[in-house]
């Protein structure tokens, strides 16, 4: 404790006090723990296999090669398919886009109905929905298999889209409900007086005003759906496996020699989409996860 007896006024700033050295030192060391895996993944993916066998995971590459990246993307094998992670990537894209649109569309309308068009029982359904967010997915996995079979979507991309819509609903509905509830009632009433109805008010007034919260919802859903493994592995077939599932199958396959550089390139490729979103969105990501925090 250096500055114990402080006079009033702002703290004097000394760059090299013992306190600062301790503070920044600790933060630097902790930062290394957090950055280490990313560093290791990047350097490993840029090495060749002979170099990996000679060195260790932390040594920087002597000879930089992108061969592992190319192989991970277009040649790595899962079972009999040897067309690389690109298949999983495009599957994930095909799952992601409709899932994000559908889940956010449905949830925003739900939130809007719950905040401005309450009807008898609406709050009860909402409460059930929120409690449902805490139920372990494992309890609902099999009944959903039956439901998807009944409507003929088991194993298809659209089945998975539906599952993502259902499980994204609690948190997104909460997000939109709270946002729409903060929009002044007067605005809503004025639109009603002008003769606007449910959908008219939604599309002409609420939607344009809610753009920031839509961005938060999109960030939340894109990272969440892209990172999903559980639903992907259960509700799709090998041909429609999302990227995370395919990645796990490539890296943890028991056949063949382990190609660590290819594995790390594949891992990085899969992590790239959420990482780009994270670094590009900054504060909005924090807002998204703060909202998503309820989901856990």
């Amino acid at each position: 404790m250096v500055n114990t007896v402080d006079p009033s006024g702002p703290k004097p700033r000394r760059a090299l006090s013992a306190r600062n050295i301790m503070l920044y030192g600790t933060l630097m060391v902790v930062s290394m723990y957090y950055l280490l895996p990313l560093y290791v993944m990047v350097v490993t993916s840029l090495k060749g296999m002979p170099e990996i066998r000679l060195g260790n995971v932390f040594s920087p590459p002597l000879e930089i090669t992108t061969a592992a990246w190319t192989k991970a993307w277009s040649e790595a094998c899962t079972g009999i398919n040897c067309d690389g992670l690109s298949r999983g990537f495009w599957n994930s894209v095909q799952i992601l886009i409709p899932s994000v649109i559908l889940s956010i569309g449905v949830a925003s309308v739900n939130g809007y109905a719950l905040s401005h068009w309450k009807f008898k029982g609406s709050e009860t359904f909402f409460t059930i929905l929120i409690i449902g967010a805490f139920i372990p997915y494992q309890t609902m996995l099999y009944p959903i298999v039956i439901l998807l079979r009944e409507i003929g979507l088991m194993g298809s991309l659209w089945g998975l889209v539906l599952v993502h819509t259902v499980f994204g609903m609690p948190i997104l509905t909460l997000l939109f409900r709270n946002y729409f509830a903060s929009i002044p009632e007067e605005l809503f009433k004025a639109a009603r007086v002008d003769g606007a109805r449910f959908w008219g008010i939604y599309f002409q007034i609420m939607l344009p005003m809610a753009l920031p919260i839509f961005v938060v919802a999109i960030i939340l859903q894109v990272t969440g759906i892209w990172n999903d493994f559980l639903f992907g592995v259960i509700y799709t077939k090998p041909e429609t496996y999302p990227m995370t599932v395919q990645l796990n199958n490539i890296v943890n396959s028991v056949q063949g020699i382990k190609e660590y550089n290819v594995n790390m390139a594949a891992t990085l490729l899969t992590g790239l989409v959420p990482l780009v979103i994270y670094f590009a969105s900054g504060k909005l990501f924090v807002r998204g996860i703060a909202a998503g925090a309820v989901k856990g």
Binding site: L36, V57, I131, Y142, M169, N248
Partner: protein, 300 residues
């Protein structure tokens, strides 16, 4: 509920109708999937279903078998060890980092970005990255041995005694940033005057945190606790990616048990019973929290 005029004009009927039609997906999700699905699983956990769900009830047989299966007991033990360690360490690390970042430091944004980025990554990516770092030949153990300490042994992923701690390292790496963020938001919500008052009274920084700030942040801690706890129970993809339950069955977890019995071993009844146990554990955690949080006052 907003006050409604008693007169039933057609417009009002239509208004309710639109909202109701728009809410059909929500109602179906809440009633069919959440309530219906959960009830269905709980009911079927009392049957002898194997390949297909059947309604021939056998009482608590599945549960008796579950609690005498070694694999389930290991899963529960792992979950307990992982859970307790993860809870304590994540709270400790999350709070300490938040407190450090709250000391009006420079580059706060950069540090925060570094601590939080793992949270953007999936558990599969996390598990695979740490699987490689903990590789006995090329990873941490290999590096330390290469530096001359030949007898150094740190091989959690191939040692059934400590494998769960290998997973713990990865789990904390992925999730502690989120808790740091929540704690930081909590710290920012505390009045500056508290600090001034503490300083006037001559209370040291650490003591101020322990005696004053942490008790004031009780709601934040409870939220963090619930978050970490519900995440722990769900742990699945991290284990699948990092160890796939191995070596042997020494890093199995309940969520993995459920899925293997339901979708691979074709023993649905066991899967249903195990998932019902997971549900029960969530209820045990959540009910006291809901009581603390909402009990006594009207929920918003």
């Amino acid at each position: 509920m907003t006050s409604q005029s008693t007169a039933k004009r057609p417009v009002q009927l239509l208004r309710n109708l639109s909202a109701k039609i728009a809410s059909i997906p929500m109602i179906l999700t809440a009633l069919v999937v959440f309530v219906g699905g959960t009830a269905w699983t709980v009911v079927h956990s009392f049957t002898s279903s194997r390949l297909l769900p059947k309604l021939n009830f056998v009482g608590f047989d599945q549960y008796e078998r579950l609690w005498s299966t070694r694999r389930w007991l290991i899963s529960i033990e792992n979950l307990a060890i992982y859970g307790i360690c993860s809870l304590i360490l994540t709270l400790l690390i999350g709070f300490t980092l938040a407190a450090l970042l709250d000391r009006k430091i420079r580059f706060e944004g950069a540090f925060r970005t570094i601590f939080l980025y793992p949270f953007a990554l999936s558990f599969v990516v996390t598990g695979l990255a740490w699987q490689w770092i903990l590789n006995p030949d090329f990873g941490v153990q290999g590096v330390v041995r290469g530096m001359g300490w030949e007898s150094f042994a740190f091989d959690p992923l191939n040692n059934s005694e400590i494998v769960i701690f290998g997973i713990l390292i990865a789990g904390i790496w992925q999730g502690s940033g989120l808790i740091m963020c929540i704690m930081l938001a909590g710290l920012r919500g505390i009045d500056e005057d508290i600090w001034k008052a503490a300083r006037v009274d001559g209370i040291g920084t650490v003591k101020t945190y322990v005696r004053i700030i942490i008790p004031m942040m009780r709601p934040v801690f409870i939220t963090a606790l619930v978050l970490i706890a519900s995440g722990i129970i769900k742990i699945y993809d991290l284990v699948v990616a990092q160890t796939n339950g191995g070596p042997g069955i020494s890093s199995e977890v309940p969520a993995k048990y459920v899925i293997e019995y339901m979708f691979r071993a074709q023993n649905l009844g066991q899967g249903f019973a195990a998932s019902t146990m997971m549900l029960v554990s969530v209820i045990v955690i959540l009910v006291p929290w809901a009581y603390l949080e909402f009990g006594g006052r009207k929920r918003g």
